[in-house]
């Protein structure tokens, strides 16, 4: 590689002089998610440790579940869940078949405490689970506990097990706490300390705690320099763990947690089974990972690509033969399956149990993919006409036309239904169709002034919509920094988007731009917010069905200040989904 090329490559990831000034986010305290916990434990102890567990769900906030991690309280019930997981993991780690390779030493006598061996184990494991080197005081506490338990139980491994269990549910493990250097820079912001930056990077890119390589870099001060950061970020982007991280991000962004509650009427869609739903979710994840990470192609082309992956459970829905397991598949040119919107995951998830829904699909497109907010229906809206079971509406186009008869409904439905109607080529389970109740389906539609005749046209319109890449950037920054972007972040997001464009809309490049930016690496002072000053709730409600209103609840947004001393901010909010 020539010198010029190498220099360009090195400079490509550096914080650009074009980056607008931005104070960064407040330092945050986030609770670890189920998948982050599982990934971290798997990285520390290996995949043979079986972990069938699920922590309580987070609240979707400003479009992302991950934002809800900074708004989490821990109840006794939640602690019980964490403890059950920790107990199971600890027992497996010290089990006779695993202890020889998961514990790096052998006690002199299995029936007695062994401080030296316990120290070795907890220093090594504690560093990875705490995401930083344990202080002498912390390490001593764990070793003392292990020794005491071993003496009482007359079993070294039982002592390790009990202490490991307590470590796995300690706040240092369950909460991701961001702290910063003491001194603010001249802009008045503070750089995240090395361990906090290591965690922010790792949970963003890998959806897991930092590994030895990243922690070592943090300990050596490499994250303090651009060159050092560049080296670590390049290694992280090249790691297979990037796939875990981006799967988690896109699953969150696309709202695929809704799959957990997805059900179809088996009498209407007998061919849509639990296996279909699971594979539909996986198909989209595989498509995304392959397109954006393995092939490093243009993000916008995700919405027009005919390349995907196929499984035996999905193939009947697509009316094609299948091979065993997951295999690469390219839909033919005249196929209606072009882009993510036409995959079963989107059209089946964004539909009713027994029928399709242009409104739900249009709304999902607006909110999940373009980051726009569809206002809620007026409180006095009459759903009677829409829900009228009168079958004289042959197609969904006729049914949702009712929306447009009432000016109170028409305002919002004009921004959801026209693009949702193009997706009427697919029934509520995602199967292609050209007619509904004997009437030919009209798939003409429009997205922000661009007219099209079918789903392929919709995909192209979406591809060319400027909100598409800017929404991804918005969500990535929110996800990576742990909270929704603020209006004052707009110049920053615009900068990220411009860099994304320059890089040909390639995901690894925009990830590099974000993590290398000053805004990502810096935090501002946490602002105290009283309950009465709580921000207005962001509301998202289903257009076609009213959702029960959840009364405002007070939640603690634990945010760390520039120093390790933490302040708290109380916010009020409404459950969005």
């Amino acid at each position: 590689m020539g010198t010029v090329a190498l220099t360009s490559l090195l400079l490509a990831g550096c914080a650009s002089k074009d980056e607008p000034e931005n104070p960064g986010t407040p330092p945050r305290v986030r609770i670890i998610t189920t998948q982050q916990y599982l990934n971290t434990v798997a990285n520390v102890f290996g995949s043979s440790v079986n972990m069938d567990m699920k922590f309580p769900p987070l609240r979707r906030t400003d479009g992302l579940l991950s934002n809800g991690a900074a708004l989490a309280g821990v109840t006794a019930g939640k602690i019980e869940t964490f403890q059950r997981a920790a107990s199971s993991i600890a027992a497996q780690v010290v089990s006779p078949e695993r202890r020889n390779y998961l514990i790096p030493c052998t006690p002199a006598d299995e029936k007695k405490a062994d401080a030296e061996c316990a120290t070795q184990f907890f220093a090594q494991t504690g560093r990875l689970l705490h995401r930083q080197k344990l202080s002498d005081e912390q390490l001593n506490k764990y070793v003392t506990e292990a020794n005491q338990a071993a003496d009482q139980l007359k079993d070294f491994y039982a002592g390790v097990e009990l202490t490991l269990e307590s470590m796995l549910i300690s706040p240092d493990v369950l909460f991701i706490v961001e702290t910063s250097d003491e001194k603010p820079n001249k802009q008045g912001t503070r750089k995240l300390d090395a361990y906090s930056l290591a965690s922010r990077l790792s949970f963003f890119l890998w959806n897991a705690g930092p590994d030895d390589m990243v922690l070592t870099a943090a300990e050596k001060g490499e994250l303090d320099s651009e060159r050092g950061m560049q080296k670590v970020v390049d290694a992280m982007l090249a790691s297979p763990r990037l796939e875990d991280g981006m799967r988690a991000f896109f699953d969150d962004m696309l709202g695929f947690d809704d799959f957990d509650a997805l059900s179809k009427d088996p009498t209407v869609y007998p061919f849509f089974t639990g296996a279909t739903a699971a594979d539909a979710r996986e198909q989209t994840m595989r498509t995304i990972v392959d397109h954006l990470i393995h092939k490093q192609e243009d993000y916008r082309e995700l919405y027009t690509t005919r390349d995907t992956f196929m499984s035996p459970a999905l193939a009947p829905l697509y009316q094609i033969p299948a091979s065993r397991g997951w295999t690469e598949y390219t839909f033919p040119e005249d196929s209606p399956r072009q882009g993510l919107l036409t995959q079963v995951s989107f059209v089946a998830l964004r539909a009713h149990p027994g029928r399709s829904s242009p409104t739900l699909r249009g709304r999902a497109l607006r909110e999940r993919i373009l980051c726009q907010v569809v206002p809620p229906p007026p409180p006095n809206v009459d759903f009677g006409k829409l829900n009228n079971p009168d079958a004289h509406y042959k197609t969904q186009r006729e049914r949702v036309a009712v929306h447009l008869e009432d000016p109170a409904c028409a305002g919002c439905h004009k921004i959801t239904d026209p693009m949702g109607l193009a997706l009427e080529s697919f029934d509520g389970a995602g199967r292609f169709r050209t007619a509904e109740n004997g009437a030919t389906i009209d798939t003409n539609g429009e997205l922000d002034g661009v007219h099209f005749t079918d789903v392929v046209g919709l995909g192209k319109a979406l591809h060319d919509n400027p909100a598409l890449p800017s929404c991804l950037v918005d969500r990535l920054y929110s996800y990576g920094s742990g909270g929704a972007a603020k209006p004052s972040d707009r110049p920053l997001l615009k900068y990220y988007t411009a860099e994304f464009q320059k890089a040909g809309y390639k995901l690894p490049d925009v990830l590099r731009t974000i993590v290398m930016s000053d805004a990502f690496q810096h935090v501002t002072d946490a602002k105290k917010v009283s309950t009465s000053e709580g921000r207005a709730p962001t509301e998202e409600i289903v257009i076609e069905e009213t959702l029960p209103m959840v009364p405002p609840t007070t939640t603690v947004d634990t945010a760390a200040p520039a120093t390790p001393v933490q302040t708290t901010a109380a916010l009020t909010g409404l459950d969005k989904n």
Binding site: P266, T273, Y318, Q319, P321, A322
Partner: protein, 367 residues
């Protein structure tokens, strides 16, 4: 069309002609309508996988018509009758003796009365093309139905609805992929009426796709042909489709996998095998019929199901064998003249699948 239009234009109308040409050109540039799949019938082929199979038993309410004398005894009842006289016997003389008769059956008369199914109505096909005195009439009124196996099994609980064989043969067939029966119709021009099609039977190797109701099966799955068991399981039949019903000519010998639990390699061989199936793009339903070899049938029964299974359905293997030999109506032994096979019918349901042939690897010696 475009050139003809242009030729007829006068010079004065050339401007108009140009606009017409443009209009036609625009019309022809319209993209083809989007389409998916192209249907179950592809390249004149359509495949189906077996999801239900029941030895055909014509059942009336309470079995009053076909079993007025009640059902047959099974091993437990017979054992009790044979050995419950208070005499002390060794295991060899009692239990093992009776077990041994299962594996070495004879046609010698026994003390038990075998209850044959009564009446003259039965499911089945006219396998010999004749209408004989022993033949049945189908529930639809077709005469000449050959199904002497029904006479034998019609009053054995095992084979009836809710019977053990009836239930478990289907449960295991669905659960294990190594006894998958697949048929493929080729040279099909029309699934409603086609005077010549070819039907090939295969052994498949993939799971069935059960639907969300838990009771049906999803069409459109894929079955890969399994040739690991040899080409014995591949048979070809000539057939035709009349008003949506596939009717095949008889094939001399068709071997079908009939294993029960995992790892069992049971099979049945049908002589004079025929199919009569109502077809649609998603499913096929009807009968498969032929003559089954009595000894092979009995061997399959004993190697697939133990005596305790037989007991659940009151099926006495030695008694069933005697009845089968007595009622056997086909394929006489050239030496003795004794019929060796019995006419039978199986009620079947298939679901549409795509049949995938194994990759043909060229032999090294041919390279």
């Amino acid at each position: 069309m475009k050139s003809n239009a242009v030729r007829t234009m006068s010079i004065a109308g050339s401007l108009l002609a140009a606009s017409v040409t443009v209009a036609l050109g625009t019309a022809s540039a319209q993209p083809a309508p989007l389409q998916e799949g192209g249907g179950a019938l592809k390249d004149r082929r359509i495949g189906y996988v077996l999801t239900h199979k029941y030895w055909a038993v014509y059942e009336t309410e309470g079995a009053k018509t076909e079993c007025p004398q009640g059902f047959n005894d099974g091993p437990r009842e017979q054992f009790k009758k044979l050995f419950d006289d208070g005499k002390k016997r060794s295991i060899v003389d009692a239990q093992l003796k009776r077990e041994g008769e299962q594996w070495h059956p004879t046609t010698a008369p026994e003390s038990f009365v075998f209850k044959e199914a009564q009446g003259n109505v039965s499911y089945g096909l006219n396998l010999d093309g004749k209408i004989g005195p022993e033949d049945f009439t189908s529930p639809e009124g077709e005469k000449g139905i050959d199904n002497q196996l029904y006479r034998v099994i019609g009053c054995i609980g095992h084979y009836r609805t809710m019977g053990t064989i009836n239930h478990f043969e289907n449960l295991f067939m669905r659960s294990y992929d190594d006894a998958r029966i697949v048929i493929e119709l080729t040279e099909v021009d029309d699934l409603k009426n086609d005077d010549s099609v070819v039907v090939t039977t295969y052994r498949g190797s993939d799971g069935l796709l059960q639907d969300a109701t838990g009771e049906g099966f999803i069409p459109g799955g894929t079955q890969r042909v399994d040739l690991r068991w040899g080409k014995e399981y591949v048979s070809k039949l000539k057939g035709k489709i009349v008003d949506g019903v596939l009717i095949t000519e008889a094939a001399d010998r068709v071997m079908l996998p009939w294993g029960v639990t995992f790892g069992t390699s049971g099979y049945h061989v049908f002589r004079g095998f025929e199919l009569k199936l109502k077809l649609d793009p998603e499913a096929a339903e009807g009968l498969m019929a032929g003559f089954v070899d009595v000894k092979a049938f009995n061997h399959h029964l004993n190697t697939s199901w133990s005596t305790h299974h037989h007991s659940y359905g009151q099926l006495s293997s030695p008694s069933q064998y005697k009845a089968m030999m007595r009622l056997a109506d086909g394929y006489p032994d050239p030496k003795t003249g004794q019929n060796t096979a019995i006419s039978s019918a199986v009620k079947v349901k298939f679901t549409q699948v795509y049949v995938q042939q194994p990759e043909q690897k060229e032999l090294v010696s041919k390279q």
